[in-house]
């Protein structure tokens, strides 16, 4: 299905089509891997909104990427509950193993590492999300194994990304 058609199906769920902006941006991001200007334009056209409006909405939400990201995304929560249980040490282990600083992407474009605010895994922290799936807890000693598993798994091409989300 074309993105345009997918967005029409999404929009039908709502009494007012504008409500489909978030799921439409998500659908566009799943196809492009991030939200380049053409993705924003496609969403705008499908919902009869302006690209400026759609960009304004996208820029408000942390899960939308307005810059390119790696094929895999690793997010480590460093909010209070996770931090009290060693999130910083977990983050540093990822930084060491990947040789990239939080907020950055490995030079081969494989993995983006970033810190995030509370994931809602407070009782089981430190929490990390590997391509949006939570792992709890992730101790520094778990990091090498997680990365091995990730590299061994076939890298998701952006157009083959998880489409189960609405």
């Amino acid at each position: 299905m074309e993105l345009y058609d997918e967005i029409q199906v999404i929009a039908e769920r709502y009494p007012v089509r504008r409500s489909a902006v978030l799921p439409a941006l998500r659908a566009a991001q799943e196809r492009h891997g991030w939200l380049p200007p053409e993705a924003i334009r496609e969403v705008a056209e499908a919902l009869e909104l302006t690209p400026a409006y759609c960009l304004a909405v996208a820029s408000f939400y942390d899960m939308f990427h307005l810059e390119p990201v790696g094929r895999h995304l690793i997010e480590v929560c460093t909010n209070v509950s996770c931090a009290l249980r060693g999130a910083e040490q977990t983050l540093q282990a990822f930084e060491r193993e990947l040789d990239v600083r939080a907020g950055g992407t490995t030079p081969d474009g494989e993995v983006t590492l970033r810190t995030v605010e509370c994931f809602g895994g407070c009782s089981w922290g430190p929490v990390a999300a590997i391509d949006h799936r939570y792992r709890e807890p992730v101790k520094p000693g778990d990091v090498a194994g997680i990365l091995e598993e990730l590299i061994a798994s076939p890298a998701l091409a952006p157009e083959e990304g998880d489409r189960r989300g609405s």
Binding site: R13, Y14, P15, V16, R18, S19, V21, L22, P23, L25, R26, A56, V57, F60, Y61, D62, M63, F64, E67, P68, V69, G70, T78, N79, V80, S81, A83, L84, R85, A87, E88, V100, R101, A102, G103, G104, T105, P107, G109, T112, R114, T115, V116, E117, C118, F119, G120, G121, C122, S123, W124, G125, A129, H132, R133, Y134, D162, R164, G165, S166
Partner: protein, 450 residues
């Protein structure tokens, strides 16, 4: 008082994500019962239960439902919106409901929708909760295929559809009017109140908004009767609540307790106390936005009135235990950094004030602050408190002011000693907050400050 399993009754013995299992333990019987009652009688039952909202504000649920105009009094349709945007730091209880008892939540959605005669219910679920969304979606599909959701449900003549809507990463969308803006396809910036959502909410129509736990409790209330539910707990705090226990505690987890159980019982008897031979320094009793309690206040009961008397709040039921390794200036900084990151930017006191809190706290922690800057910190808290459209600014100012009030000598020692007395050994030392994270470009490795 103590542990009391009501919400999660049967959840340990059966896989309640499956419709058949849920029905086997009595699931959807409350819905059948509600559909035989008048909508007004269902609301009366909720009022009788004294159930107060479990999201943080604690507003009586039945009364809120009664504020909506009846269908014949309004030209616009009514909506039910379930707030599943759980994101108050420390809180992970709604997630467990979504994962383990999704049908009980759906049953509550259907009963509450019927009570306000809504034809459409929305569940706004935070975008990061992907697995949780999938579990709820599977439950919704199963319920729909069995005629529990959709047209003329269970032959009652009542029709309702349920739409699951995923957020995209914004704490402020847990605030009810920010959520409505987001659900309407906008930036999640809170609205002015009044009008309240009961009069003009989603699409300017009458809207009932409740937290996941509140809605999941509704089938239990219908089953046992509002008056019997009201007998649980203590005065003004009826029933049970899920508490998310986290931080420096031996057995963290979600625990369902009768309201009025003391913090000490939760932290020590149920949670196993502080591990590693450390001592308890402080407890945040209701999520990172509420004032802190000291070790001397552990006998405070977990109920709305007792927490208010102790100068704090029950909030979202997130109890964060902090041991003696934690520097309270670093705690203030990390909490303030969260709210700086999440401020929507609409109100100046929050947008600018919280940034000020962060920069002053950073100077205190670095040992660069003068005495006057500690006063300035409290002054900025005062200039935020109560001066914004939504509670986010307060959520930053209240805890920071409470850390200074209760641990003033620790703040003073940073100033007098020109540095952190923990000398690098605090449990929060060097924690990297997203607000301090610089995004590096994929190409060329050039760092671009955000």
């Amino acid at each position: 008082m103590g542990r009391r399993t009501l919400l999660f009754e049967d959840a340990d013995q059966a896989d309640l994500t499956k419709l058949a299992e849920y029905e086997r333990v009595g699931g959807y019987r409350s819905l059948r019962k509600a559909l035989r009652m008048t909508p007004a009688a269902v609301i009366d039952e909720l009022i009788a239960s004294n159930l107060r909202g479990r999201g943080g504000a604690g507003f009586p649920m039945g009364r809120k439902a009664s504020f909506l105009p009846k269908p014949e009094q309004s030209s616009k349709p009514s909506y039910l919106v379930v707030n599943a945007d759980e994101s108050e730091p420390g809180t992970c209880k709604d997630r467990e409901i979504l994962l383990r008892i999704p049908h009980q939540l759906l049953e509550g959605v259907l009963i509450a929708s019927y009570a306000i005669q809504a034809e459409t219910a929305f569940v706004y679920i935070r975008g990061e909760y992907l697995t949780e969304f999938e579990v709820l979606q599977a439950a919704l599909e199963e319920a729909t295929s069995r005629g529990l959701v959709g047209g003329n449900i269970l032959g009652s003549g009542y029709s309702v559809s349920v739409v699951l809507h995923r957020g995209a990463g914004a704490y402020i969308c847990g605030e009810e009017t920010g959520l409505l803006e987001s659900l309407e396809g906008r930036r999640g910036q809170p609205r002015t109140k009044p009008p309240f959502p009961a009069i003009a909410g989603l699409y300017a129509s009458p809207t009932l908004i409740n937290n996941v736990e509140t809605i999941a409790t509704v089938p239990r209330i219908l089953a046992m009767g509002g008056e019997r539910y009201a007998e649980l707990g203590v005065e003004n705090s009826a029933g049970t609540r899920l508490f998310s226990l986290s931080g420096n505690v031996a057995r963290p987890g979600n625990y369902e307790l009768e309201l009025g159980t003391t913090l000490r019982e939760l932290v020590y008897e149920i949670g196993g106390g502080v591990p590693d031979g450390r001592s308890l320094k402080a407890v945040i009793p209701g999520g990172s936005s509420v004032p802190v309690l000291s070790a001397a206040e552990l006998d405070t009961p977990l109920d709305f009135d007792s927490m208010a008397r102790a100068g704090s709040m029950l909030g979202s039921g997130a109890v964060i235990v902090i041991d003696d390794r934690c520097c309270m200036v670093q705690l203030g900084l990390r909490v303030a950094q969260f709210y700086q990151h999440e401020s929507c930017g609409k109100c100046t006191p929050c947008r600018e004030g919280v940034r000020w809190l962060v920069s002053i706290l950073r100077r205190i922690e670095a040992g660069d602050a003068t005495q006057g800057e500690l006063d300035l910190l409290l002054n900025v808290c005062d200039r935020i408190l109560g001066k914004c459209l939504c509670p986010l600014g307060d959520a930053a100012a209240m805890p920071v002011a409470s850390y200074v009030a209760k641990f003033r000598d620790e703040y003073q020692r940073h100033i007098d000693g020109r540095g952190c007395p923990f000398r690098g050994s605090s449990s929060l030392e060097g924690v990297l907050a997203p607000v301090d994270q610089h995004h590096a470009h994929l190409r060329a490795g050039i760092e671009v400050p955000v």
